[in-house]
């Protein structure tokens, strides 16, 4: 009895505030824009009984999705988000791996402190961390001042408001998400395996490539999902650091909703984005469950 209550409480909350909202998004993505409050049609009218329900379903159609395929903007935005997400996930992995590796090889008494140093930025505001790059990357910003001072460049580089700035922002803000799963995989690694490999004649690099890398696979998978999936729908970073040529679907959705007030098209954009992300999200969840069961 109490068990049922314990299950029902979080379960019904998630159904009401996570699952049902998606059903509503799908429904509105099949509706048409209207000059009304709320700004879409049809609305379900239960007072007319069965006829009302039939009329409601008869008015739903796929026009918004058809519109998404006819206008270049949308599929270009999906492709560009995909490219930015893939490239930045790989970049984050390249930056995070040596850091996580160094942490896992550090003396034991340093580790809690190093761990805290990685978590600390993760706890401070995402928005502020993105914003902090604006002053660094601007044309008259600190990076250009520094590079001109040491004489590497004569004219300032344009970095802010380009895709390069977006990549830097993503790697910077998502780094802890990649480092933490990598670190927890690398930390468990048994050092004697590496010694055995080196005794058997492997070079350092071979030992790394044949033993450390494959054994950290779970961490790599988890980290890549944790970066790739949210970056696909990222809005803040392209908005603050990217320029007019930075096309990302999260920004398109935001503008459809807040600027154009076209809720049905915004919903259709969200449904398509979700359709793209369903496979990685399910894979991510499987991976997490597998690890939880392996530990339990």
């Amino acid at each position: 009895m109490k068990r049922a209550a314990l299950i029902l409480l979080p379960y019904s909350w998630l159904i009401a505030l996570f699952l049902i909202p998606f059903v509503i998004v799908i429904k509105i993505s099949l509706s048409d824009i209207a000059l009304a409050i709320p700004p879409y049609t049809p609305n379900l009218d239960l007072s007319q009984g069965w006829a009302g329900i039939k009329a409601f379903f008869a008015q739903l159609d796929f026009d918004n999705f058809r519109f998404l395929t006819t206008d270049d903007l949308y599929w270009k935005a999906y492709l560009s988000s995909l490219r930015i997400a893939v490239v930045s996930t790989l970049l984050t992995l390249c930056v995070a791996y040596p850091l996580a590796y160094g942490m896992a090889r550090a003396p034991d008494e340093w580790r809690p402190t190093l761990m805290m140093l990685v978590i600390l930025p993760f706890w401070s505001s995402f928005l502020i961390r993105v914003y902090s790059w604006k002053a660094i990357l601007a044309n008259e910003g600190l990076l250009n001042q520094f590079l001109m001072l040491i004489g590497v460049i004569d004219t300032p580089l344009t970095i802010l408001n380009t895709n390069t700035a977006v990549y830097i922002g993503i790697v910077y803000t998502y780094l802890p998400f990649m480092v933490l799963p990598l670190y927890s995989a690398l930390e468990k690694l048994d050092g004697s395996l590496l010694e055995a490999a080196e005794d058997l004649g492997c070079t350092r690099f071979q030992a790394f490539w044949l033993i450390t890398f494959p054994l950290s696979r779970n961490g790599i998978i988890a980290g890549c999902f944790l970066v790739f999936i949210p970056v696909m729908g990222e809005f803040v970073i392209p908005e603050l650091l990217g320029g007019s040529q930075t096309l990302m679907i999260g920004k398109v959705l935001w503008e459809e909703f807040f600027s154009n007030r076209d809720w049905p098209v915004a919903s259709a954009v969200a449904v398509l984005l979700l359709a793209i992300l369903v496979v990685p999200i399910v894979l991510f969840q499987r991976n997490e469950e597998k690890q939880r069961e392996a530990e339990g």
Binding site: I24, P38, A135, Y172, G250
Partner: protein, 269 residues
């Protein structure tokens, strides 16, 4: 005792420099006299003064704080229940759906969560304001709490609970007097995580808020969209300072608690 190789030392130094440099620069330039953020013109605290005279920011900060306290508390209760069900609940109808709904919001893009919640609030005729932001934040924060707490539940010795049950505890008593004290650090860090996520959230709050309830991130965002401003640097430095003190205090106190518990256990055996 292992020593760091030069490769590992370099990657640690570079990695942490990358993580901390931008924030250090931000804090340093919040004390800049000049309105231009990129030119140093001498030390001054005037931007902090301006910040505390800015009513709009103070109002937004108050709204944000209340939202964060309410939503993280609710999320901790719901998330702990969810973690318990997930780890100890056995099999029940729709468990895969349940765990899917726990893990999906962790990675789901904010724009989708925000849009779908807003459309729900409109569909049921709920006026947008503080209540809707609290509901929205509770929903995604409870998933983080559930994950943090469930990883602690997985790792602890189940026989302790069973012993309590054998000795005549009701399941609720066993939970309160055995399980809860052991998972308490995870529950607390879940609450803190929910609290900071709520303080931090821009996208979901933008969808869920009405004109009467502007949160601090919404305010910051509309200011920084136009460019860099020293008041925002000052505000950011204050927030970074709070988080730093909070995280350091928390990690020292949990470390002390662990040491104390180990000492007690040693004394017993």
């Amino acid at each position: 005792m292992r020593r760091l190789s030069w490769f590992n030392a370099t990657s640690l130094t570079l990695g942490f420099a990358f993580l901390y440099m931008p924030m250090i620069i931000l804090v340093v330039y919040s004390f800049n006299e000049s309105r231009l953020v990129t030119v140093w013109a001498g030390f001054s605290t005037k931007w902090y003064g301006e910040l505390f005279r800015n009513e709009a920011f103070l109002d937004a900060a108050w709204v944000t704080l209340r939202v964060a306290v309410f939503s993280s508390t609710l999320a901790t209760i719901l998330g702990t229940a969810a973690a318990y069900v997930l780890v100890r609940g056995g099999k029940f109808f729709g468990k895969t759906l349940f765990s899917g709904m726990i893990y999906a919001p962790l990675v789901m893009p904010d724009v989708i969560l925000g849009l779908s919640l807003l459309l729900l609030f409109i569909a049921v005729g709920l006026d947008r304001g503080m209540l809707t932001i609290i509901l929205a934040h509770t929903t995604f924060a409870m998933c983080y709490v559930a994950v943090v707490v469930s990883s602690r539940l997985v790792s602890f010795d189940r026989s302790l609970e069973e012993a309590a049950l054998d000795l005549g505890c009701t399941p609720w008593d066993a939970f309160r007097s055995v399980t809860l004290p052991i998972i308490a650090p995870a529950v607390i860090s879940g609450w803190l995580l929910g609290f900071t996520l709520s303080l931090d959230d821009l996208v979901i709050a933008s969808f869920a808020s009405g004109p009467s309830s502007t949160t601090l991130p919404i305010k910051i965002f509309s200011a920084v969209r136009l460019g860099v401003s020293p008041e925002i640097n000052a505000l950011s430095s204050i927030l970074i300072g709070f988080v730093t003190i909070g995280v350091i205090t928390f990690s020292i106190s949990t470390k002390r608690a662990v040491v104390r518990r180990q000492r007690e256990e040693n004394a017993v055996t």
